[in-house]
């Protein structure tokens, strides 16, 4: 699981649907039967083979039923057949339950849309009521307070507050108005006040809600490149094991002839061996892992346009992060008062506070609150007979006039002039401080009055969000380079980048510079992820391998990216990368587990199949029964135990496949060691114990008698 303590993502109000609630499970059970349809099965070659095997054993079982085969043989055959079917059903169930949450969400969305009606404009001021689903691109609708916006469109007239929580989960209303950046509305959101005239900009079936339904439902889900490649590998292994099992029949015929004892392998044992050897565990869970990955991204309120984007997120080498909003809180704050010689810090603080009392900017407020630390209580504006001078483009400073005392604050040059006008000196050390603050990426704000001259400097700083340094360190450990994008000058950028622990920065960034950086990284073979919201970000968003567009951004930006963050939180890019990595890891770990399982299955089924060959006199078992290192009870119980284990392991691993394997950021070598130990060595050992246990249970219930 992704460590939630590190998560900076605010929990949204959207109701989360649990995966294991009754309605989802019931639907999944039904779907697992529906998915037995061979045309649906053909997508998954591994399970297709299992289904074919189940069909063959079913036919053979019913044939044996009619020709009077002994009961104990029928019991064995029946159980094998049953468990083979279970194997297929369990795999189907895994996929169905992974789709379940998405389907439930899609249903809610679809239902709300179908019930929506719209006031379509026939001609000026004449409207007719139609169902939202019948609207065409270019239609104009009228929506008033309390109504749902029926379709995606552009406001052509009106201003209104709109609740977009259906899409974003954010319940605070936003203002939408005609013209400008805020003219786009999304179908499914609600007008809270006033009215809007909206022109539909998309065809029915292509709206945001439609996309969302398709995405959460998985209808549009295409296999990702890595998933296809993995499927090829699994199909290849399946063919190899098919060859192994097919060749085994002639081999055993040879052995029976040469050794004069035993029976050639029967179809039930051969099919059981085949199903146990082919990678059913990963074959059965592969698509569930992919769907669950999409779903996890969605639970973070990110709409990924394709699974491919999530896969690419796992591969990202370079993260481009916007400074404002991602790395810093977005406004400067006063962090220190540096008084001039002969002035106490308290005097400076007092002057600074007085001059900022009327300043409602975040900077001004932060000066007031920093001054409080010097025992200066916040004063009521009315209690001091003061005249406040607000900042003007002309004077470039602000301040306060108290009787004859004029306190001023502003940028260094302006205040220096002010001081010199009062025939006072500007101390050298203050000039130095000012320079140093600027070099360190801060903003120096100089304070002076007409009596004492220059009082000192206020150090204003871009405040880096908490916890980021650790996250970037984790990313570095994972081999991901972080680059900060900022419009600041290089000095400021370097200072903030080093404070936040980023690897690199792009200062004085323009859209062109951003593009260049992306190109350069990509030419070096690195995958780039970035966030953006403005129209001028669109080319870079499109060029990046992972482009996360903010939902508050422009339509162009949203179309250019391959993911949309509904919460518009740029930091979420880090979560998306981690989900991508977790998805790939889950896939790799279960593949390794599945293949490692084969060793134990060989040691179960081969002695069972060949134990009767080359019998020497007065022994019950032939020499190859010595391969039964687990001490299984009998050939029939052994084969049955292997098949049951093989089926149950799919069910046992469903939660893991849906949740993703546990994961904390570390470098590749440590990750490999850890996962290899758990899923590789575990995959080698667990089936030995599992099969032995199942064998004991089979014997206990007498499910493999007379053998």
């Amino acid at each position: 699981m992704i460590n939630d303590d590190l998560s900076l993502v605010p929990k949204t109000q959207r109701k989360k649907i649990s995966l294991f609630q009754k309605s989802i499970i019931m639907r999944a059970l039904k779907d697992s039967i529906v998915k037995l349809n061979p045309t649906l099965m053909a997508k998954n070659p591994v399970m297709m083979v299992v289904e074919a095997g189940s069909l063959i054993t079913t036919v053979l079982f019913f044939r044996d039923l009619t020709i009077g085969t002994p009961a104990n043989v029928l019991l064995f055959e029946g159980q094998i057949t049953l468990w083979l079917w279970f194997t297929v059903l369990f795999a189907n169930f895994a996929e169905a339950i992974a789709e379940g949450r998405g389907k439930a969400q899609a249903e809610t969305l679809r239902k709300s849309r179908q019930e929506t009606t719209a006031q379509r404009e026939i001609c000026k001021d004449k409207y007719e009521t139609v169902s939202a689903t019948t609207l065409q691109k270019g239609d104009i609708v009228f929506v008033k307070a309390g109504e749902l916006i029926p379709c995606d469109g552009e406001i052509i007239e009106g201003v209104a507050t709109v609740n977009e929580s259906a899409i974003t989960g954010e319940s605070a209303p936003v203002i939408r108005e005609s013209g400008g950046d805020r003219s786009a509305v999304t179908g499914g959101t609600t007008v809270l006040s006033d009215w809007l005239r909206i022109k539909m900009t998309v065809q029915p079936g292509e709206t945001f809600i439609d996309h969302m339904i398709a995405l959460v439902e998985g209808a549009q889900r295409q296999k990702t490149p890595n998933e296809i490649a993995l499927n090829i590998l699994l199909a290849g292994l399946t063919i190899i094991f098919l060859l192994v099992v097919v060749a085994l029949l002639p081999f055993s015929i040879f052995a029976v002839r040469a050794g004069g004892s035993g029976q050639p392998s029967d179809m039930f044992s051969l099919i059981a061996l085949l199903v146990c050897l082919i990678p059913t565990t990963i074959g059965g869970l592969l698509s569930a892992i992919g769907i669950a990955g999409m779903d996890r991204v969605l639970q973070h309120n990110v709409l990924a346009m394709s699974g491919k984007a999530i896969e690419a997120a796992g591969d990202v080498d370079t993260l481009l992060l916007d400074k404002t909003g991602t790395i810093t809180l977005g406004n400067r704050q006063a962090v220190q008062f540096i008084p001039a010689a002969g002035i106490s810090e308290k005097i400076l603080a007092d002057a600074a506070q007085l001059s900022s009392l009327a300043d409602e900017t975040p900077e001004g407020r932060s000066i007031v609150s920093l001054a409080k630390q010097f025992g200066l209580r916040e004063r009521e504006l009315s209690s001091v007979k003061a005249k406040f001078i607000s900042f003007s483009a002309h004077t470039k400073m602000s301040g306060v006039d108290l009787n004859k005392k004029q306190i001023r604050k502003g940028s260094a040059d302006v205040i220096y002039n002010f001081v010199r006008e009062q025939a006072k000196n500007v101390p050298i050390e203050i000039e130095k401080e000012v320079e140093q603050i600027a070099q360190a990426g801060g903003t120096p704000l100089v304070v002076a009055d007409n009596v004492r001259g220059l009082l000192g400097v206020i150090y204003l700083k871009d405040v880096v969000k908490g916890g980021l340094k650790e996250r970037f360190a984790h990313l570095r450990e994972m081999g991901i380079r972080t680059v900060m994008i900022t419009g600041d000058n290089p000095l400021t950028a370097a200072a903030i980048a080093s404070e936040a622990g980023l690897d690199d920065y792009l200062a004085e960034a323009t859209p062109e510079k951003k593009m260049q950086l992306i190109r350069k990284e990509q030419e070096g073979g690195r995958l780039v992820a970035m966030t953006g919201d403005g129209t001028n970000d669109a080319p870079a968003l499109a060029a990046a391998d992972v482009g996360l567009a903010m939902n508050t951004g422009t339509q162009t930006a949203k179309e250019a990216g391959n993911m949309i963050d509904l919460d518009s939180n740029p930091t979420k890019l880090i979560e998306v990368v981690q989900i991508g990595k977790q998805l790939l890891m889950t896939r790799g770990s279960l593949t390794t587990f599945s293949i490692a399982n084969d060793v134990a299955k060989y040691f179960t089924i081969l002695p069972a199949m060949f134990g009767g060959l080359y019998l020497t006199h007065n022994t019950n078992h032939g020499p190859l029964w010595s391969l039964n290192i687990m001490g299984l009870h009998s050939p029939n119980s052994a084969i049955l135990a292997a098949v049951i284990f093989n089926a149950l392991i799919i069910i046992a691993l469903i939660p893991l496949a849906l949740r993703g394997i546990s994961y904390s950021p570390m470098n590749a070598q440590s990750l490999l060691q850890r996962n290899l130990f758990i899923y590789g060595i575990g995959g080698l050992i667990i089936p030995f114990f599992g099969i032995q246990l199942i064998d004991k249970i089979i014997v206990m219930f007498g499910l493999a008698p007379f053998s």
Binding site: F254, L584, R587, I595, L627, L672, G680
Partner: protein, 596 residues
């Protein structure tokens, strides 16, 4: 087992390790077209060859053109050999009159199926021999038809491997090299110089090199013995170095004229592994990270050492049925004799026989200094499994490394995802097409071995059937029980692996076996080489992804361990059921005091 035996094995491993880098450095220079010491001497000759053949060495080839040139070259060679074999009766240098009316009564007829099998065998670097040279082939057939392939088939393997290495080494490129240039340069700069020195060395050790008539000697009992002669030295050198394995004499490297001294034995074993070992370094050097090459070499070493330990121990332990007869079988401190000495040269003892058997099967050589059919069941399982792994433990010249690289790709693909990135190997992303080609490679080998062995085990042909004179195909085995099965399995494994050694005891000169084993050799060579070249073509186009801390590391011992596991699970488990019905069951039965 003796200490001296183990020391010899350790010494062998050490010397090979020391030679890997110098060999690799030299080969890299040759294949990258850089200047070497031999340049002044050989460059004019190289230019002349290009001029005469109209080859433009600077013309780079797309992988498909490269494959086409390689296939065309091999096909022409195969047809040429087939023609010589079939026409040897009317061609010169046939003093014994083979394939003519004047042929001696013991002569074997050069039938179309035998000629097909032999042509395939030598074209594919297998050197499987369904016949006995001295009573089947004319001198012309031997020297022109077969010896030619000993040279070029090894160079073809090396060329294919280089193409794949370039696939990894080049970035965003289209071409994988020029086949003709690779062929000519490897022959001129690698094979010829080594061969020259090597032949001289062998002659110095007592290997014969003459055109004398056979010597007739009188034994102590007064019997007449015919001692064959011939230009053995030069043949012997390419047989080992090119990992061909077809001996001048039937007894192969067990014969004193092919392998006279312990020193020559040591050097012969060394010469089998030297080129494949050097190629691992070439790989590391060309992808600009020699650690990658060492990791592959380590993998080969570990698998090889496991093999030799099992083989040596199980040969030393011998056969319990012999000790049961109160025969002293313990190995003596220095003699390294005792244990299972059946089919072994007393001159070499157990360690050197077990070592030779492991080496010759790990590399797809097939030369022998002891008879594999006489190894203990588990001792014989080692060469069999070595071959079935796909001849990747050192393997053939070139073919060994490209096989190993394909397993590395599979390993990276299966386990690489566990670090949370899509798989990449030495900076190249492993995608759909690459996995497809790697799987085709593995499938081709498994298909050939399993399906042909199954056919050999059960085909119920009528007696006196023209396809197979003994009737049912399983009648061709001369040993009862599971050992007979092992013989069929070994035959098709050896042919598919292009090894050429055999569990003798299988009558294989029948149309059925000649055709099936000929096909197995073709599949084992070209259906595995073409996917490797296609892989080269796919990889060469890819961008280079620079490694970071998040990259799956492929130069560590962890990766070596992982690669070995994948080789054993994907490669070996495929054949585990077959092996249980052959050597493994035979082993258990032997311990119930029954032999076959």
């Amino acid at each position: 087992m003796t200490l001296v035996g183990w020391i010899q094995i350790a010494l062998y491993c050490l010397v090979l390790l020391l030679l890997t880098k110098p060999m690799g450095v030299y080969m890299t220079r040759v294949m990258e077209g850089e200047k070497t010491l031999l340049e002044p001497m050989l460059k004019p000759l190289e230019r002349l060859i290009y001029k005469l053949s109209g080859v433009k060495p600077e013309e780079e080839m797309h992988w498909s053109t490269y494959a086409y040139a390689l296939l065309a070259f091999s096909l022409v060679g195969a047809l040429f050999t087939y023609a010589i074999l079939r026409l040897q009766g009317v061609l010169p240098l046939n003093p014994m009159g083979f394939s003519t009316a004047a042929a001696p009564s013991y002569a074997t007829a050069m039938t179309p199926d035998l000629a097909f099998n032999t042509a395939m065998s030598f074209t594919t670097n297998t050197n499987w021999q369904s016949y006995s040279g001295e009573n089947t082939l004319s001198y012309l057939s031997q020297m022109l038809g077969l010896a030619y392939h000993n040279w070029v088939s090894a160079a073809v393997g090396m060329a294919a491997c280089l193409a794949l290495i370039r696939g990894f080494a080049r970035r965003s490129a289209k071409t994988v090299g020029n086949f003709w240039q690779d062929l000519v340069r490897s022959l001129l700069y690698i094979f010829f110089p080594i061969m020259f020195a090597y032949s001289l060395f062998l002659v110095s050790q007592g290997v014969v090199q003459n055109f004398s008539p056979y010597t007739v000697a009188s034994t102590i009992e007064g019997e007449k013995q015919i001692i064959p002669q011939g230009p053995v030295g030069s043949q012997e050198a390419i047989k080992m170095l090119g990992i061909n394995g077809g001996g001048f004499f039937n007894a192969n490297s067990a014969h004193p004229f092919e392998n006279p001294t312990p020193f020559s034995n040591f050097v012969e074993m060394l010469s089998i592994f030297i080129l494949p070992a050097g190629l691992t370094y070439v790989f590391g050097k060309m992808v600009k990270d020699t650690r990658q090459g060492w990791a592959l070499l380590s993998t080969m070493y570990v698998l090889f050492i496991i093999g030799i330990i099992i083989c040596y121990c199980s040969e030393s332990f011998g056969n319990p049925n012999i000790s049961a007869q109160n025969v002293e079988t313990s190995t003596k401190i220095l003699g390294d004799l005792g244990g299972n000495m059946e089919g072994k040269e007393v001159r070499f003892g157990l360690a050197n026989s077990a070592l030779f058997a492991t080496i010759t099967s790990a590399a797809s050589c097939g030369a022998v200094n002891c008879m594999h059919d006489s190894l203990t069941p588990l001792g014989g399982l080692v060469p069999l499994l070595n071959i079935q792994l796909g001849e990747i433990v050192f393997g053939g010249v070139g073919s060994g490394l490209y096989g190993m690289l394909i397993f590395a790709i599979l390993t990276v693909f299966i386990a690489g995802l566990m670090v949370g990135r899509t798989p990449e190997y030495v900076g190249k992303k492993i995608e759909q097409k690459d996995v497809k080609m790697a799987m085709l490679f593995v499938l081709a080998g498994s298909f050939s071995i399993l399906v042909f062995t199954a056919l050999g085990g059960v085909c119920e042909l009528p007696a006196k059937c023209p396809l197979n004179s003994p009737g049912a195909t399983y009648n061709n085995v001369n040993n009862a029980g599971p050992h007979g099965f092992s013989e069929i399995l070994y035959c098709f494994s050896s042919c598919t692996g292009n090894n050429g050694s055999a569990f003798a005891g299988l009558t294989c000169n029948t149309p059925f076996y000649n055709l099936t084993s000929g096909l197995a050799m073709l599949i084992g060579r070209f259906l595995m080489m073409i996917p490797a070249l296609a892989l080269a073509g796919s990889l060469v186009q890819k961008k280079y992804v620079p490694p970071s801390r998040g990259t799956f590391p492929t130069h560590t011992w962890l990766f070596v361990g992982l690669l070995i596991s994948v080789i054993l699970i994907v490669g070996a488990l495929t054949f585990f059921p077959a092996l249980t019905l052959g050597p493994i069951v035979e082993h258990f039965i032997m311990h119930t005091l029954k032999v076959f």
